[in-house]
Structure formats: structure tokens, C-alpha cells
Amino acid sequence: MMLYSVNRSLERKTKLHQILHHPYFGFFALGFLLLFVQFLRITGVNIPITVLRGLGLTMIYIIIALGFSILLGYAGLASLGTAGFVGIGTYLIGYLTNAKGYSISMILVIGFLGAIAIGTIVGFISLRIEGLYLGIITLGLSEILNEVFKNATAITNGTNGLLMNRIVLFGQYYQFNSNTIFIAIVFILILVMVLTLNIMKSPTGRAMLAMRNSESAAQAMGVSVLKYRLLAFIIATVYAFLGGILYMTYIGFSIPTTWNLAFSLFVLAAVIVGGSQSIAGVVLGTFMIFGLDLAVFQQITFFQENPDITFILNGVLIVVVVMFYPGGLARLLINLKFKITNLVKKLMKKWKAYKYGEDD
């Protein structure tokens, strides 16, 4: 029996080469980098707490944005309800811990089940409505949820915001320690990125892409539109809930004004700016939209005095990227890589001509 290029892995030369070219390498590298920052802080290097906090929040937003990228980049469904779902996640853990004293594993299970239920409902809505109209419907849903957060004071503590300063683990109360939670978030982020890549490269991801490109072709190939739309919404909602739960554990405070339209739009912008079909792009886009402001600009006095300038910068960034790089920053990076290699080649040629003279 003839084999068609199955054994390409055998041609790879060294173990190091194999590791460097492994698809998960980037995720672990990013994780180790973040852990290293945290490690520096623990050992006593003077890193401001706001920087770490910004990085932690960015990681949580990356998880949310990854779910959204599957929804937008793969299934081709635009949703503006992200903020509402994240909000539910925060209030879920806040209420269940404060009032009922549930352990965090229990809350995670409840969160997953709730996310599946909500994702299914929104998925069924998406069967009838597409494109912008779906965005408007989900926006309405998110606004309803926001009003619920404001008015259901028994659970959410209304506009004053819900405070949570301890979590339950194995039946015991623990005070917050943002260092340990940061490390936990890094590991969860790595896991989520690995799982997301698996989905993207699996038959499921291909089926979703097929659906996005040509619905009739996908149906003729045996892809059930109902199943995959529901699945995409469920994945996005589960990620949003997970993000909400992590947010509450890390920040310990949730207020309805955070979960407004602007947050949903920022997530959308992060995914569009980064490139909706690549994990690296989503990470980069989220860092651009959220991380730069949270971790970098807030250290600079100019931006501290004029906090609204970051919004203008974000706006300019979105306009520039959407106009000139519809593929997002991921595409920009690939182009840049090609350009840099070409430039290096050219410079080497010039240097050679200078040192050795022109070709004989």
C-alpha cells in the first residue's frame, strides 16, 4: 500500500525542532512568560500590582474572546450579548458563594449547565435570524440581562455592585490571594487555548467553516446547521461564563455598569482587530484593546490624567486595521514576517556586494 506523505513528521530533524514547531508551543511559551512575571513579583522585584492585575484581566478577556472567535470566525454568527453572559457568570459565583456557600467546583458545574441552557436558547434564535439582525437580538438580550442585574437586588445587590472576598474550596473558606489566582488563571488559559485549537482543527471546526462559507454545500456534505449553530453558541457561552467566574474570583467585585454594550463591542473589536480565525490573533487583539490600557497606559502619568485618550487610540486602531488589514493583526504579522525576511535577504546581499565586490 502506498503512503501519501503521512510520515512527514519523521523527516523533522531534531527534537528541539519538533518542540518548537509543535502547535501548542506558543501557548505554553505565553503561559511561562506570564508565570515568570508573577514569579518576579513574588521574589520581590518591584512590579506594580496594577500591571499584574491588568495582565490577569487581559487573560480572562482572552478566554472570552476565544469563545467569541469560534462563534464569529468559524460559525459566522455575530453576537453582541457577550457582556450579559459574562455578567451572569460573575453574579452566579458571587451569589452562590456569599449566600449559599457552594464550593467552586460545584459552581463550575452549575455554570456549565446554565451556559449550555442559555447557549441552546440563543442558538435556536439564530436559526431564524442572521447577520446584523442576530446582533440586534442578542444586544437586546444583553440589555435585558443588564436591567435584571440592576433591579434584582436580592441576588446582585443592584447598582451598588456585588462584593465577594472569599471562595469555598473543599468545604473550607479561603481569603483571596491574587497571586495564586493569577497562576490558576494562567493554567486555565493554556488549557482553554489548547482545547480551542483542537476544536478549530477538528472536523467540528471544518464543519463550522463550511457552514460559514456555503450553507447549501455544508448541508449537502451532511453538516447539520442546527447542530453546529447550537454548538457554536454553547461554546461561546461556556467560555463567557468561565470568564465571568474567573473575573469574580480575581477581582472580587461585579457591578452592572461593567456589563454594558461597550464591553460586548470591545470583545468584538478585539476579535476583529486580531483576526477571527487565529488564536494568536485573538490574543494579540485582546492585548491591544484591553491589555495595553490596563497594563501599560495606566502606568504613564499622561494617560492617568487623560483616561479617555485610550478610547480614541482604540478607535483609531480599529479603523486602521479594518481599513488596511481585513485579515486582522494575525495577517499583518505574517506579512511583516515575510517583509522582514526579504529585507534581511536584501541587506545581506548589499553587505556582500560591499565586502566582496560585485559578482564576477
Binding site: M1, L3, Y4, S5, V6, N7, L10, L195, N198, I199, S202, P203, T204, R206, A207, L209, A210, R212, N213, S214, S216, A217, A218, Q219, A220, M221, G222, V223, S224, V225, L231, Q277, Y354, K355, Y356, G357
Partner: protein
């Protein structure tokens, strides 16, 4: 009530048979790949050992006077390396001289460079010289050769033993599993036949050698009767052509068969792989492919964001047995399935001469190639009935001739029935066994291409009556 229970049992049995069949196919396709992979690995290991030995032996061989081609080559390579190195030094010096324009200072530098180069070359030549004490050198050489022979034989025996045990084990396991599964399959099939003979009333509706039968099919869009009480049947293994002027309702017929449209009235009967008669009106659009009916589209409908190979894998979507969580955690089974599907896709691509395009994206490829890729895509699911919607539209003459050959090849090699709509009469008359002509949703004539060509009604429909 009893009938209902019977039909539920039948459904269960079809699912079971399907599962067992895919398992057997999986095992049969996977084991040879596994064994071949090990063989290739072993060959590479042996080559590596041989190369290592050659390198080890080289200095002994030279000293003992056995200067073979390999040694000469190695020597030439080393000398060339040195010459190259000094060539660039030389050029750099020349360039520097050009800039400084100081001939006397550079003369000594050039002389030094040449002397250095000569020394280096002489050193290499000395290292490749025959030893003065030839007998001891030859003894040492033979000693090393003997040693290496033993080592090589050892490695080879070990690898061969490993391969033999591995392959025999795998083959034994395969035989055991396949015979076990075959027994299960036989039992399931016997039960299935028992139930089928008991309850199936559809059996009278469609003949044994017929694969598809339309019975008074109608499709109305408001007041427009796109298809009007159309009935014909397609025999197994033939190429069936459906022709008609523009707007005759040919594509609507296709869409009714593949359940994109729900027919206003009338029945569509179909015999699947198990020779079981089915009423296609009871199927959902994405389940039609599971019974072996695949279609292409009039305008090429490929997935533009995926390379050609993955486009084919999308077509194999229904063949994957691993569930969502298996895919999420990338378990071994999905990796194996992926490997087999890739092999299958590559085989189809090489059959249709498309192997060169496997990593290319569809955007920018010629239209003829895209049409061919769509054809290749239908073959992924072991189709029973391939429905082609205007396969030759937009192709030039050479591409159309190529397409005719490809379609015939597919019919013969993949044992599929082909049902096509086409405007290119040359192609239809050349390849079709039976042709059906329709106009305004009504059947005009059906028969061999010659009969259709000589039919007066068809001529009138195309060219108009007097």
C-alpha cells in the same frame, strides 16, 4: 403497534450494521498504514547506522589503502570547502584593495593568503594518505570491518524481529477482530432481512435493479409549476442524463431529490447500500448523504477558506465516529480517523490527477480544476448515486473531453450510478446510457441517446414547432 416496534428495531439494526461496517473498514485501512509506518521507520534507522559506520571506517580505510569513491568524494568535498573559504577571503581582499588603492601593502597579504591555502590543502591530502606501516593498518581496518558487520547484523536482526512480531501480532489481531465483527454483522444482517421482509411495503414500489424512482413528482412555486407530475427511474450502474431547455425544472428535480426543496406532491424512492428501499421524502437534507446520495452544484460551492485536501475532508464529515468531546481532547481515535481520512482523500486526489493542488486554496484556481475538485469531493463517502448539476458548464472543449473520461472512470472504479443535468449535448450523447428530456416540468421522452436525437417532440421543445 407491532409494526412500530418492528420499525424501531429496524432503525436500531441499520445503525448497528453501519457502525460495524465502518469499524471493519477502519481496521482494514488502518492496520496496513501502521505496519508500513514501522517499516519505514526501521529502514531509516538502518540507513542511519550504515552511514555512521561508513564515517567511522573512513580513516582506517584510507590508512589501509582502500581509497574508494566515497573517500575520494569526502576528500574532494573538504578541499572544495577550503577553496571556497579562501575564495571569499581573496575577494574581500581584492575589494579592500580597490577601495584603498595601496598595491604594495596588499601584495604581502595576498602572498600570505595563498600560502595558508596551500598549507590547508596539503594537510587534507596528508590526512588522506596511505599509512607507511601497511600490514598493521590493514589488520586494524579488517578488525573494524568485522566489528561493524556484527553490529549491523545485530541491529538489523533486532529491527526485523520487532517488525515481524509487530506485523504478525497486528495481523492476528486484525483477523480476530474482523472475524468477530463479521459474525456480528451476519447476525445483524439476518435479523435485518427478517424484519425487512416482514414490514417493508415500499419493496413493491421500486424494482430491484433500480436505484432511484420518481413517482408523479410535482413542485410548485406559487402558481408556477416547475416540476409537473414527473416520473422516471434510474437503473443501478448507469449514467443517466436529464436534459431540457432553460427553465425546464432540471435543477428543481435535483433539489427535490436532495431534499433542499420539499416536493409539493409525489414520491421519490431510492435503494441504498443494503438494497433497502427508502422514501426520500422522509429525510432531512443533511441526512441524504448518509444513504449514499451526493451532489455537486451548478456554481462551484467549495469552502474557500480551506485548502483542497481539507475541502475533501469536510465531505467526509459523516464518516467520523468520534464525538465532540473526543475531538475536543484530541484523543487517539480521532487522530487515527483523521489519518485514514487523509489517506483516502489523497488517494482520490491522485486518482483524479489533483495531487499537486492538495495544499492550495480554491481561490484563484482555474474553473475546470474547481469543477474537478467538486467531483472529487463527492467520492469521499463511497457514494451510491452521484448527482452532477451541469458539470461541463463553463469548461472549454479539452476540459469537457477530460471530464467525460473522468465521469466514466468514476462510474467504473467506484461503482456509482451517475445522474447528471447538462446543456452540452455532445457530452450527454457521448457518455449517457439513458437520457430523459423534460420541458416546463413535464417529461417529453426517455430512451437511449439515439432515440432522443431522433425524437420529434424533443426537437420541437428545443427549436420550436412550425
Amino acid at each position: 403497534m407491532a409494526k412500530m416496534i418492528d420499525s424501531i428495531f429496524k432503525l436500531y439494526l441499520t445503525i448497528k450494521i453501519d457502525r460495524i461496517e465502518t469499524k471493519i473498514a477502519f481496521l482494514k485501512e488502518y492496520q496496513p498504514i501502521l505496519i508500513d509506518t514501522l517499516k519505514e521507520k526501521n529502514d531509516k534507522k538502518l540507513q542511519k547506522v550504515a552511514l555512521k559506520h561508513k564515517h567511522q571506517l573512513l580513516p582506517y580505510a584510507i590508512q589501509a589503502g582502500h581509497i574508494d569513491d566515497y573517500a575520494l568524494e569526502a576528500k574532494a568535498l573538504e578541499i572544495k570547502k577550503v577553496e571556497d573559504q579562501f575564495y571569499w577571503h581573496h575577494r574581500a581582499l581584492k575589494q579592500a584593495l580597490k577601495r584603498n588603492n595601496n598595491q604594495t601593502a596588499y601584495d604581502s597579504k595576498f602572498a600570505l593568503l595563498t600560502s595558508k591555502k596551500n598549507d590547508a590543502i596539503q594537510a587534507i591530502e596528508a590526512s588522506y594518505a596511505v599509512s607507511s606501516d601497511l600490514t598493521t593498518a590493514q589488520k586494524a581496518y579488517h578488525l573494524v570491518v568485522e566489528k561493524q558487520k556484527i553490529e549491523y547484523a545485530k541491529v538489523k536482526a533486532k529491527l526485523e524481529e520487532q517488525y515481524v512480531t509487530f506485523s504478525t501480532n497486528k495481523k492476528r489481531l486484525l483477523d480476530e477482530k474482523v472475524s468477530y465483527l463479521n459474525k456480528k454483522l451476519e447476525i445483524a444482517l439476518a435479523k435485518f432481512n427478517h424484519y425487512q421482509s416482514g414490514i417493508n411495503s415500499l419493496d413493491e414500489m421500486i424494482d430491484q435493479d433500480t436505484i432511484l424512482k420518481l413517482d408523479r413528482l410535482s413542485m410548485h412555486f406559487g402558481g408556477l409549476k416547475a416540476v409537473d407530475e414527473l416520473s422516471f427511474s434510474v437503473k443501478k450502474g448507469e449514467i443517466f442524463g436529464l436534459i431540457g431547455p432553460n427553465g425546464a425544472g432540471k435543477t428543481t428535480v435535483f433539489n427535490c431529490i436532495t431534499r433542499f426543496y420539499k416536493a409539493t406532491s409525489g414520491q421519490i424512492f431510492y435503494r441504498n447500500r443494503l438494497n433497502e428501499p427508502l422514501n426520500l421524502n422522509q429525510f432531512v437534507v443533511h441526512n441524504v448523504i448518509k444513504e449514499g446520495i451526493v451532489r455537486t452544484f451548478q456554481n462551484v460551492e467549495l469552502i474557500w477558506e480551506l485548502p483542497i485536501l481539507e475541502n475533501l475532508l469536510v465531505a467526509g464529515h459523516t464518516l467520523y465516529r468520534t464525538g465532540f468531546f473526543g475531538q475536543l481532547f484530541n484523543i487517539r481515535r480521532i487522530r487515527r480517523e483523521e489519518m485514514i481520512m487523509r489517506q483516502k482523500a489523497l488517494k482520490i486526489l491522485s486518482d483524479l490527477d489533483l495531487l499537486a493542488y492538495q495544499y492550495a486554496y480554491p481561490i484563484g484556481l482555474p474553473y475546470g480544476i474547481l469543477k474537478k475538485i467538486e467531483l472529487a469531493r463527492t467520492l469521499m463517502v463511497n457514494p451510491q448515486l452521484i448527482i452532477l448539476d451541469e458539470p461541463a458548464a463553463g469548461l472549454n472543449d479539452a476540459e469537457t473531453d477530460n471530464l467525460a473520461l473522468t465521469i466514466k472512470k468514476i462510474r467504473d472504479e467506484y461503482q456509482a450510478t451517475i445522474f447528471l443535468v447538462e446543456h452540452d449535448m455532445g457530452l450527454v450523447m457521448e457518455i449517457c446510457d439513458t437520457v430523459c428530456a423534460i420541458s416546463f416540468g413535464k417529461k417529453l421522452a426517455i430512451g437511449t441517446p439515439k432515440e432522443i436525437q431522433s425524437s420529434q417532440i424533443v426537437r420541437e421543445a428545443y427549436l420550436g414547432g412550425e
